[in-house]
Amino acid sequence: MAEKEEIARALGEMGQDSAVLTKSNIAHLVATGHTWLSLREVPGVHLQAKRTSDGIAAELTVSEGARIENPVHLCVGVLEKRGDQRINIAIHLEARSAATFMAHCFFPSAEKVLHAMDAVVDLGREAELRFLEGHYHGPFGGASVLPKADVHVGPRARYVSDFSLTTGRVGQLYIDYNVEAEEEALAEMTTRIFGHATDDIRIRERVALAGKRSRSLIKIRVAVEDQASADVSGITEGREEGARGHVDCVEIVKDQAVANAVPIVKVTHPLAKVTHEAAIGSVDKKQLETLMAHGLTPAQAVDMVVTGMLR
């Protein structure tokens, strides 16, 4: 019970309403470490959670044609200073279903915590999934977070994801996402991270536009300061007629931080088109001077640009 209260408090610190875990019309799954604490299904959302030999696993299914009104909340993390959490998650949205998943990942006291997530996401024909993932890592920088996902976006389906880790220390974060989009499918992935101190950020996001007229956008926004480092790779492959993809990466570097970006675009069909843009550096001088001409100090101007970019 104390853990549920602690999770509710962590949700509050992440700016979320902890009451979502008590409402009967909102589905949720809650786990700390390798213990499932709470699970609620709603009509159209079927959840299964179990313990495995080396961690925990969950299956989340949204029934064919179901349009889930309230977001499904996934609360996972480790409350203690030290610990592991290894999760396998399978998410399946059946044809023409639609849902928003909100993942709250909390490591508020992490001094030496491992969180490894392997996710398989499958969207049926014309299904729509918004997957919003917010992280809260506390001030110590001891979290190692390794999320890996394989996402299949079926014909005319829509997959929109938003990963955000902008408060607290990152620690180690190695993101590895692979998305395959079928005919007329849409994949939009946004990632926003702010690294401090010695945080180590590595992002690899790849989209294969495997279907005709499939579309994608990979948008990555990273700010690093102090001695933090960021290594970002956005990859898009256009394999079919009418496929359109874009990779948009901006990294702001402060102090002695280091960042690099490798946008990779590959086209194997003459009627596919993939574009990219990447900008790395300190805060744009013109942006700074514009804000300073409005009376902001240089430090206030930098904060405003960084905060805005990560919003």
Partner: protein, 239 residues
């Protein structure tokens, strides 16, 4: 009229080329002063020097604002004295709403009021971001509104008419006059002589110095004749 800005003998070089060359200029409180000049004559450079932008430190000369020499002040310090600048091509910002942007220097300002003054509908624009989803013309209007909301003593408007369709010119002229109505002086930088007619006084810049000052119509006539371009410096002394 009380003098607000006095620039004396201002010079600035870049890459061994003189951009400003002993420039003198005065602007009175609540005066709209148009600065006419062709592309590359140093108009924007002068704007950046007055604002204190990085890389625009004058080699010689003084800039006095009110009774204070401001040569050594940083941009935000000049802004807090009441000087501000609307860039010719304003920067764009992800994640900053127009409502927030219009309240930057003055949290008590009513953003809706200033949007209306530049011909934009508050309900439509306040929630939008100051990012690349705005057209060039929309972004310029937002910049004018934000500068107006600062209630400056001196607003430097760098070609507010560029990128604006001809039908909207009267609206831009009305916005420039609004600055004066709000108590501000305006340094209006333009290369369109018709835009200069909104001013109280005008100057023509050529070769990095003021070559002609007077009433807007006289300066516009002088500018239109392209005297400096054809004089090889014999008339304006900038050969």
């Amino acid at each position: 009229m009380t003098e607000l800005l006095r620039i004396h003998s201002l010079s600035l070089s870049a890459d061994h080329k003189k951009i400003l060359d002993g420039l003198d200029l005065t602007i009175a409180e609540q005066e709209i002063h148009a600065l006419l000049g062709t592309n590359g004559c140093g108009k924007s450079t002068l704007a950046f020097v007055i604002m204190g932008c990085e890389g625009y430190l004058p080699a010689t000369g003084t800039i006095v604002f009110g009774n204070r020499v401001i040569n050594d002040l940083k941009i935000h310090e000049r802004a807090r004295l009441g000087i501000t600048l609307a860039w010719q091509e304003p920067a764009r910002f992800e994640g900053i709403s127009i409502a927030n942007y219009l309240s930057l220097g003055s949290p008590s300002a009513d953003p809706a009021r200033y949007l209306q003054r530049v011909g934009l509908t508050p309900d439509e624009y306040l929630p939008r971001m100051v990012d690349k989803t705005l057209s060039g013309g929309q972004r310029k209007r937002i910049e004018l509104a934000s500068v107006l909301a600062l209630k400056p003593k001196l607003a430097i408007l760098d070609e507010p008419d560029s990128g604006i369709d001809m039908l909207s010119m009267n609206e831009i002229a009305a916005v420039i006059e609004a600055f004066k109505a709000e108590g501000a002086a305006v340094l209006l930088i333009t290369h369109r002589e018709e835009m200069a007619l909104v001013s109280d006084r005008a100057s023509q810049l050529c070769g990095g110095r003021i070559v002609f000052s007077g009433t807007p119509s006289n300066v516009a006539r002088h500018y239109k004749a392209r005297t400096c371009i054809v004089c090889d410096g014999n008339e304006c002394g900038n050969g």
